[in-house]
C-alpha cells in the first residue's frame, strides 16, 4: 500500500494579498470590467471569425479529422468569449456544439441534423437583439432538444 504524505507549506500569496495598499475589491472589479469592455470589438470580431470557420468547415464537401478538430477548437473559443461580452446564449450553444462533437468523435458519427441546428443557432445567437423573445426561446428550446436526443443516443 502506498503511504500518503501530507506536506505543510507556506502560502506566500496570502501574505502579499493582505499587505497594506492595493485596492478595494469593489474598485478592482469595476476596473477589471472597464478594462474588459475595451476589448469588446476585438472579441466580437474573433467570435465572427470562429462562427465563419464553423460554418465553412461543416458545409465543406471534404471533411477531414483536421477540420473536425478545427470546428471543435472554434466552438471552444466561442464558449470562452461569448459570455464575457453579453452573448451568454451563444456561449451555451457553442458549449453544446463542443459536447456534440466530443461525443461524436468524428464527422462520420456526428448526426448531420444536430450539427446543422447548432451551426444555424450560432449565427442567429450572435445578434440576440435582432431576435424576438419567442424566436430566442424557440432557438434555445430546439438546441436543448437536439442536445438531449444526441446525449441519449450516445449512452
Amino acid at each position: 500500500m502506498t503511504a500518503v504524505r501530507h506536506i505543510p507549506y507556506k502560502n506566500r500569496l496570502a501574505k502579499l494579498v493582505q499587505a497594506p495598499g492595493g485596492k478595494r475589491i469593489g474598485d478592482a472589479l469595476n476596473d477589471a470590467k472597464a478594462n474588459l469592455a475595451e476589448l469588446t470589438d476585438i472579441c466580437l470580431a474573433e467570435i465572427d471569425r470562429a462562427i465563419a470557420a464553423v460554418q465553412a468547415a461543416s458545409a465543406a464537401e471534404t471533411k477531414t479529422a483536421e477540420t473536425f478538430d478545427e470546428v471543435y477548437a472554434a466552438s471552444n473559443e466561442m464558449t470562452g468569449l461569448a459570455g464575457l461580452f453579453g452573448r451568454e446564449d451563444l456561449g451555451k450553444a457553442a458549449h453544446s456544439l463542443c459536447e456534440l462533437l466530443d461525443r461524436s468523435g468524428s464527422w462520420e458519427r456526428c448526426p448531420p441534423v444536430a450539427l446543422k441546428v447548432h451551426v444555424d443557432s450560432l449565427a442567429l445567437l450572435r445578434h440576440p437583439d435582432a431576435l424576438s423573445p419567442m424566436e430566442l426561446a424557440a432557438i434555445l428550446g430546439g438546441l436543448e432538444k437536439v442536445a438531449r436526443k444526441t446525449a441519449r443516443a450516445a449512452e
Binding site: 501530507h6 506536506i7 505543510p8 507549506y9 493582505q18 472589479l29 470590467k33 459570455g83
Partner: protein, 184 residues
C-alpha cells in the same frame, strides 16, 4: 466578497500561460484592473516551466489547452518538478469545454482550481482570494501531488468571517442552544 475589503496584488509575481492572444489580452486587462503590475506572460508550457525554474512565482493562471502540452500536464509536471520554489505555488487552470476523456485528468492534475469559461472578473477574483486564504495541506499519494481534494464547504466562501452575533443565529440553532442551557 465584500466590495469594501482590500486586495493587494501589486507585488505578487503572477504568471499567465495562454496561447491564444485574445484570451491573453483578456487576462492581462482583468489583472491590470485588479491592480497587478506587469504579470509575466507566456504562450507555452515550456516557456512557463523555464520561468518557474528561474524565479519565485506567487500565482499561476494557465489555460487547459497549450500548444506543446495541455494545461493539466503542465501542472502535473510543475508539482513533480525540482523547482523547489514553485512546487506549491497556487495554480488556477482555466478551461473551456472539457472533453470527457480529460475530466479525470483535470481532477487529478494537482491544480488548486479548475475554472470553466467564461470566467468573469468576479469569478476569477473569488478564486484568487480563495487560494490566497487556503490552508489545505498538499498531499502526495504517489499518483497524486497537489492540494488535498477533500475540503469543507466553509472554505469556499472567501469573505472574511466574523463571529456571528446571537441575533444572527438561525432560530433552530438558537433554540437548540437555549434548550441545552436550560438542561444544564
Amino acid at each position: 466578497m465584500d466590495p469594501k475589503s482590500w486586495i493587494n496584488l501589486e507585488k505578487a509575481a503572477i504568471l499567465l500561460v495562454e496561447p491564444n492572444s485574445t484570451n491573453m489580452q483578456i487576462l492581462k486587462q482583468v489583472f491590470a484592473g485588479f491592480g497587478a503590475r506587469k504579470p509575466l506572460a507566456c504562450a507555452t508550457a515550456d516557456e512557463a516551466m523555464e520561468i518557474a525554474t528561474g524565479q519565485e512565482v506567487n500565482l499561476i493562471v494557465v489555460s487547459d489547452t497549450l500548444g506543446d502540452m495541455d494545461g493539466y500536464e503542465f501542472v502535473r509536471t510543475l508539482r513533480r518538478s525540482d523547482t523547489d520554489q514553485n512546487v506549491f505555488t497556487p495554480v488556477i487552470v482555466v478551461s473551456g469545454h472539457t472533453k470527457r476523456r480529460l475530466v479525470a485528468t483535470a481532477r487529478d492534475c494537482g491544480a488548486n482550481f479548475v475554472v470553466a469559461k467564461p470566467m468573469s472578473p468576479q469569478t476569477l477574483l473569488e478564486r484568487i482570494l480563495w487560494v490566497a486564504k487556503e490552508c489545505r495541506p498538499f498531499v502526495d499519494t504517489g499518483t497524486y501531488l497537489g492540494p488535498d481534494r477533500r475540503f469543507k464547504d466553509e472554505f469556499t466562501d472567501s469573505t472574511p468571517r466574523r463571529r456571528r452575533k446571537d441575533a444572527d443565529r438561525p432560530a433552530a440553532q438558537a433554540a437548540e442552544t437555549d434548550q441545552f442551557k436550560g438542561a444544564a
